[in-house]
């Protein structure tokens, strides 16, 4: 029933089945950790880090400027959204790098297509079936870094031929100990299920999520991600979605809530990951940005350039990295959006390569085939 090919290509769990009690995740897992957070719905980079020194920004967003009255200044140009207090602290500590005017190579304005490209790393929507992060797992082979999506189904970014799994707290009632105790006997003659079951028990123990019933609470999500990555037997790559950034209407209140949630998540994550913070990279990305101008419903519409965040103990942070294009009408992309001056693909491949000690050009070719951008250097100390 399990042919040899499945054995070779199959899940890490299969291999783990024969390895004894504490080897469900291979012991050779490297020390480096990666957390990828995808803000789905297109985050307004100009709200995340506001270019207060740009007169065109002040003019276009005049009625929202009060938001940034007491906001932490990142440098002479940019101020961080005031809800991002913890992110600001990490920035001050040199552990957060703000990247601005960045976008993938996608230049239309459909969430659906843009997220597909963000996740597959392809150049045309739906051209590729596997995800960039799954291919990255493939590059780490030999060090066997297990990848987990904190989600009930595997996101496209992690789908593909390399092993990746999911974990999500559940609203299902906890199974009784009496039942759990009987399963090793039930699976005694079945190496695959026995291995999976052992891994499941171990993951449940690492997650220790009995007090959570979903990823809805930001603090829980941050804590869970940290537990998964911090544990020596845990995952080395974790991916999680942050939904709800499509701010067409009443953006001020909506983004205040979203940024607060993100910041709570980061704070909980930072606390939990503390022992291995220096080995940890957090990458925060979104599919595209939003219009410079405020629309008729106190929101912004689908745009192009946005911002990204790199956080972690080894990140060369405490700075804003941007080739700022300016926001005057003639400087905008198609007369409406922040013009992207940096490639998100180059940023991602540069950051991942440097964090995991891989050849950046090779990472670029594998994750983003067909791109000519040079991976960005100097992101990680």
């Amino acid at each position: 029933m399990i042919d040899r090919r499945t054995m070779l290509a199959g899940s890490a769990a299969l291999a783990a089945a024969s390895l004894g009690p504490h080897m469900a995740f291979a012991r050779t897992a490297g020390e480096k950790r990666l957390l990828v957070l995808v803000m789905r719905g297109a985050t307004d980079g100009l709200a995340l880090a506001a270019p207060l020194a740009d007169p065109a920004f002040r003019a276009a967003r005049a009625k929202w400027l009060d938001t940034y009255a007491d906001a932490p200044k990142l440098d002479g140009t940019f101020a961080l959204h005031p809800a991002l207090a913890e992110t600001g602290r990490l920035y001050s500590a040199g552990d957060a790098l703000l990247v601005h005017a960045v976008a993938t190579s996608y230049r239309e304005r459909s969430h659906f297509d843009a997220q597909n490209l963000l996740e597959t790393g392809g150049t045309r929507p739906f051209e590729r079936r596997d995800g960039f992060l799954n291919r990255f797992v493939g590059l780490l082979k030999g060090s066997e870094s297990p990848a987990i999506a904190l989600a009930s189904a595997l996101p496209l970014a992690l789908r593909g031929s390399n092993p990746a799994s999911t974990y999500a707290p559940t609203t299902l009632p906890k199974a009784s100990e009496a039942l759990l105790d009987r399963l090793p006997d039930l699976y005694a003659g079945d190496p695959q299920l026995a291995g999976l079951w052992q891994q499941a028990r171990q993951t449940e123990a690492i997650a220790d999520a009995s007090d959570m019933d979903s990823l809805g609470r930001a603090r829980d999500a941050g804590t869970l991600a940290a537990r998964m990555l911090a544990d020596p037997q845990g995952a080395r790559i974790v991916m999680m979605d942050l939904a709800g950034w499509d701010s067409h209407a009443n953006q001020l209140g909506m983004l205040q809530r979203r940024f607060t949630q993100f910041d709570e998540l980061m704070k909980a994550f930072r606390t939990g990951i503390n022992p291995v913070w220096d080995d940890t990279l957090v990458l925060v990305v979104t599919e595209f940005g939003r219009t410079v101008a405020i629309n008729g419903t106190n929101g912004t519409d689908h745009g192009t350039g946005s911002a990204a965040l790199l956080l972690g103990g080894a990140v060369r942070g405490g700075r804003v990295m941007a080739d700022w294009p300016g926001l005057a009408a003639t400087q905008q992309y198609e007369g409406r959006d922040l013009k992207p001056t940096m490639s998100l693909e180059a940023l991602t491949s540069g950051a991942l390569a440097s964090h995991f000690g891989l050849d950046a050009e090779k990472v670029m070719r594998s994750l983003y085939p067909g791109r000519t951008d040079r991976p960005i250097d100097g992101l990680i100390a």
């Binding site: 199959g10 009930s152 299902l172 699976y187 009443n250």
Partner: protein, 465 residues
């Protein structure tokens, strides 16, 4: 596995509590082809025809117009948000009802092999509810466009599925415009930006629905098919009010159609308006690459992740010889020795496992919402594969640790709800002649019937087919 257990579990959707066991497994499966009812009683209250689809689309368009008007109302800034929220709740409730209906149809089906084929084809022509509009169209899509054609010709299924408004919306076909269409020329005269061709549907039809990625087509074939498809849109859209209604709620709008001859896979097609795309689809449906692609997917579903080449050839031949008559392909599947190997060949996907659980219990018991939530927690929300490629049909995608743990939790929950008293006999009936001593003893020694049923539901026999 015995032939009886294979017929029940590998071909069917699992034994249904109270049913007699099939005496003649192959005959039982073949009879289902003729006995299958596309619109059984459970569907009676659910309108799924083209008129209903057009109504849903018009209703959505009307809602959007009202909400946009509300957004302009400066005195009441929360009104539009409230409208959207209420709308979302309504759509969600209807979707949950459709998901539960899908479960009920599978539970109640007397032709579970063909019911499995409904799920198979729905996944072959996948749409996904993570895209706007799909939650309210996917029920009518599967119930109204897939179900009636699963025992007919593949070509008819292809037409019904790939030109249904659910698919036209999912792959943005309705926004595609011929660069030389009258509409494009009008836009140009008025100085409005070009809208242009959208290749999504054209590409997915070739790659995912017919020829397959290695089926021998080129990017130019994709473009030509996309050009032929321009004009296909849906009824109920204000922008397509003058379009000609087509079946299933679709419409054809000549105004945005790209004029001219098209060449796809070396054949030329005259511009007959709506008929041009239909002519191409009809040829694609019987193309040898399509036969092979469909045969490979079917073989993978019934003979394992890496199906024997002999089975693929057998099925492709049945497909080609019959012009894509699906009953002939099903018969070939049933007659093939490769689909009757004793060892289980597939790890059950969460949907299959959940349906198997319903049938083993013999009744729904779960509320609509509980059923939908259970599927989500098991990792396979119905109609939400997240990609036009549909759910992957390989073991590595499903045999996961977290997935197994969630099954254990769900099994105990359902066992507690059902409180069955005949679990030992049920175990023998579910896997006739195939129950392992380990499972039999686990069930027998369980401290309660509920525990015994939960163990049965997560036993190795139940995880695979």
């Amino acid at each position: 596995m015995t032939p009886e257990s294979i017929a029940l579990n590998r071909f069917g959707l699992g034994y249904r509590r109270g049913d007699a066991l099939p005496q003649d497994p192959r005959g039982w499966l073949k009879r289902q082809i003729a006995e299958y009812v596309p619109s059984p009683k459970a569907l009676a209250g659910r309108s799924v025809n083209g008129e209903e689809v057009a109504r849903v689309i018009a209703d959505t368009a009307e809602f959007r117009a009202m909400r946009n008007a509300a957004r302009e109302d400066a005195d009441n800034p929360e009104a539009a948000a409230m409208m959207s929220k209420e709308r979302q709740q309504d759509v969600r409730r209807d979707l949950v009802a459709d998901i539960a209906l899908r479960g009920r149809l599978a539970l109640e089906s007397d032709t579970p092999f063909i019911e499995r084929m409904v799920h198979f084809w729905s996944n072959h022509f996948a749409v996904s509810t993570d895209k706007a509009q799909i939650p309210s169209l996917v029920g009518p899509y599967e119930f109204g466009a897939i179900r009636p054609h699963v025992t007919g010709y593949f070509g008819d299924l292809l037409r019904a599925a790939s030109l249904h408004p659910a698919m036209l919306a999912y792959l943005d076909q309705w926004q595609s415009q011929g660069p030389n269409s009258r509409a494009a020329k009008m836009r140009e005269r008025r100085g409005r930006p070009e809208r242009g061709l959208n290749e999504n549907l054209g590409r997915e039809i070739l790659e995912l629905n017919t020829l397959g990625v290695d089926g021998g087509y080129t990017q130019e074939d994709v473009k030509e098919l996309a050009r032929a498809l321009t004009g296909w849109t849906m009824q109920g859209l204000p922008a397509a009010a003058r379009a000609m209604p087509q079946s299933g709620g679709a419409a054809f709008f000549d105004y945005i159609h790209e004029p001219g001859m098209r060449t796809v896979m070396g054949r030329s097609y005259r511009d007959t308006g709506a008929g041009q795309a239909l002519d191409i689809l009809d040829d694609l449906a019987v193309h040898p690459s399509t036969a092979r692609f469909v045969a490979t997917k079917l073989a993978r579903h019934f003979a394992g992740d890496t199906p024997p080449e002999s089975l693929v050839e057998r099925l492709a031949k049945a497909f080609t010889d019959s012009g894509g008559h699906l009953p002939k392909v099903y018969e070939a599947l049933i007659d093939a020795p490769e689909t009757w190997v004793e060892q289980p060949v597939k790890f059950r996907q969460p949907w299959e496992w959940a349906v198997g659980l319903l049938r083993a219990g013999g009744e729904m018991k779960l509320a609509d919402r509980q059923f939908a939530i259970m599927l989500r927690e098991l990792g396979q929300q119905a109609w939400r594969p997240g990609s036009p490629a549909g759910w992957d049909d390989r073991e590595a995608s499903w045999a996961g640790a977290n997935a197994l743990y969630r099954r254990v939790e769900a099994a105990e929950r359902v066992a507690d709800l059902l409180r069955l008293e005949d679990v030992r006999e049920l175990a023998e009936a579910m896997f006739p002649g195939s129950l392992s001593d380990t499972t039999r003893q686990s069930v027998r020694w369980a401290e309660s019937n509920e525990m015994g049923f939960a163990l049965l539901l997560v036993s190795p026999e139940m995880m695979r087919r």
